[in-house]
């Protein structure tokens, strides 16, 4: 089995959890090899990649990578893949991850699969599992021509440490003419308010129209903090300006797949279900006994979220 390249998504000198998951998945398919682009502390990232099974860590540092959009990363990955001739390339199925994956697949003359919820080793190469049409079908696909480039959603697998003695290779990237065509004038990280990232969180507590207003989200946040959860919001709540779009769960927002999803005051429109349907356990609190969200909830409470949530927070804190 050959090398499986993993593009490492990192923040503050730490590998983000979805990329650790990719290293674990890469181990099923071949020999994991990590690609670290940019970053303040590539040595620390390389050490962490080795801890999670990467035999080779490719490191490329250049101002182009942070200062310009997408293409510098495609240039770097295409160059590394061209030399390593990997069995597959894995990336996170985020906005940027999918864009990089798409352009890379074209450059490598390979095949592209995005939004995989699992990747297995098959007789004819990697088999990617997708959940489509708002979770109503599971589709298993393979790439039949060229290098498979697969973008995988967060929480596909639990990352497993596999301490590996390996080497680090510095790469000098020859950037294409288009690499500097889109300038990133500024980049403002989103304040996380000390809560886990929505896509990575084990528990998500979301509020919808039933929360009634911006101030209503205080009870949602209180429960999230009591559970150590991330806070999400439905499109209705975001469109009304009650909560930031960065926290929107749904087809056009973030797609989450946590161990526990708590829907408060959310009716459960298809737009929303497409973003949370693969959660392991779903509970819902809603005044309307006919709300579609109850059709997929493992446990539903018909009631006022302003009564139920604060009491539930107390139970959680007492625990």
């Amino acid at each position: 089995m050959g090398d499986v390249l993993v593009l490492i998504d990192h923040n503050d000198g730490r590998i983000r959890k979805p990329s650790l998951e990719l290293l674990t998945l890469a181990g099923r398919l071949g020999t994991p090899a990590a690609v670290v682009l940019g970053g303040d502390d590539p040595e620390a990232l390389a050490v962490q990649a080795h801890e999670y099974g990467a035999a080779t860590v490719y490191v490329a540092e250049a101002p182009e990578i942070a200062d310009h959009l997408v293409v510098p990363k495609v240039d770097a990955l295409a160059q590394i893949a061209g030399e390593a001739n990997p069995a597959a390339v894995l990336l996170t199925s985020s906005g940027e991850g999918k864009e990089i994956a798409a352009r890379l697949a074209l450059r490598l003359d390979g095949g592209l699969i995005t939004d995989a919820v699992d990747v297995l080793s098959g007789d004819d190469g990697p088999e990617a599992v997708q959940s489509v049409f708002a979770g109503s079908y599971a589709v298993v696909s393979t790439v039949v021509h060229g290098t498979p480039v697969i973008a995988v959603k967060a929480n596909a697998v639990t990352p497993e440490p596999v301490p590996t003695a390996g080497r680090t290779e510095q790469v000098t990237v020859a950037f294409s003419a288009l690499a500097t065509s889109v300038k990133v004038v500024s980049r403002t990280p989103r304040a996380s308010e000390g809560r886990p990232d929505l896509a990575e969180a084990a528990i998500v507590v979301s509020g919808g129209r039933g929360v009634g207003g911006q101030e209503g989200f205080a009870v949602v946040e209180e429960l999230a903090d009591a559970l150590g959860a991330a806070v999400g919001a439905s499109r209705a709540a975001v469109d009304a300006g009650w909560y930031p779009h960065s926290q929107q769960v749904g087809q056009t927002g973030r797609q989450v797949s946590p161990q526990l999803y708590v829907a408060a005051g959310i009716s459960g429109a298809i737009q929303h279900r497409a973003g949370m349907q693969t959660s392991k356990t779903i509970v819902a609190v809603n005044k309307d006994p006919e709300a579609p969200i109850f059709g997929l909830a493992d446990y539903g409470v018909v009631g006022d979220l302003f009564d139920v949530l604060p009491k539930l927070s107390e139970y959680a804190r007492a625990d």
């Binding site: 959009l69 599971a138 500024s186 059709g295 446990y299 139920v308």
Partner: protein, 261 residues
């Protein structure tokens, strides 16, 4: 100089219907009525706004798809696009995203452009990769996932809601942008717009017209193949209780049983 804006759009099965697959594993486009992908309406809207703020501009809606896909073009025309281009050919059926982007790129070159405005993703396949693929094929700046954009002379600026940060971007024309559902509500076609749309020109093209052959396209040319499709049993509704003052306590007990508390 006329500012030429192309908006690639997709005709998709209505997400509120029971979407399913045909026997050849492609999306069944007969079982459920189709419509203009909602996320493309935001692209049409932004293209029209840019055109309206420019002295001389033309907005061209473009689609690749079977006969019915013309409905998506009519909707874009009713919203205010000036004309439309419809690429249709038997050999296209079953094309993957890579092949679809090859057809769209050829059609875009055929029409000529200064700016391409895409939606962020379709509402059926929802891969969200066509904008990046088109930028790669056309070798133009990719300015994507914008919640806000502005055009000043030949300079495009925008606000990208990236995965972990907000980014301010700048690029020159010609360029490709994609816009999110945060970019601003799409206008609803007026009666006048719907009537006018019936008279607006729709150019029909096939693969020959674009100088493409079918061997890299369609199901046979796809780089990926579907091995299996399994209908997922719908999630079963679990326990539903009425809160009589004890609702939180009962919910807490359920969460404790599942080891969340």
């Amino acid at each position: 100089m006329t500012l030429k804006i192309i908006v690639p759009v997709k005709h998709v099965p209505d997400a509120t219907g029971d979407r399913c697959f045909a026997d050849d594993h492609t999306t069944d486009r007969e079982a459920v009525d189709g419509l203009l992908s909602e996320l493309d309406e935001y692209a049409v809207e932004q293209a029209l706004q840019l055109a309206e703020s420019t002295d001389d501009a033309e907005v061209v809606a473009l689609t690749v798809g079977p006969d019915d896909a013309v409905d998506a073009l009519r909707r874009a025309l009713a919203m205010g696009a000036h004309r439309a281009v419809h690429v249709s050919d038997e050999a296209i059926h079953g094309s993957d995203a890579l092949a679809t982007s090859a057809i769209l790129a050829k059609a875009i070159e055929h029409v000529g452009y200064d700016l391409i405005v895409c939606g962020m993703a379709s509402t059926d396949g929802a891969m969200g990769v066509i904008p990046a693929l088109l930028a790669e094929r056309l070798a133009v700046p990719q300015v994507t996932l914008l919640a806000e954009l502005a055009l000043d002379g030949g300079t495009l600026t925008g606000r990208r809601e990236a995965d972990h940060a907000t980014e301010r971007l700048r690029a020159g024309l010609p360029a490709l942008v994609s816009v999110t559902d945060q970019s601003g509500e799409a206008r609803y076609p007026t009666f006048k717009g719907i009537m006018a749309a019936k008279k607006k020109p729709v150019e029909s093209l096939d693969l020959d017209d674009l100088g493409l052959t079918g061997d890299q396209l369609g199901l046979a040319g796809a780089r990926t193949t579907v091995r299996t499709i399994t209908a997922q049993p719908p999630r079963q509704a679990g326990t539903l209780i009425e809160d009589d003052g004890e609702g939180a306590k009962q919910l807490a007990a359920f969460l404790a049983e599942r080891k969340f508390l």
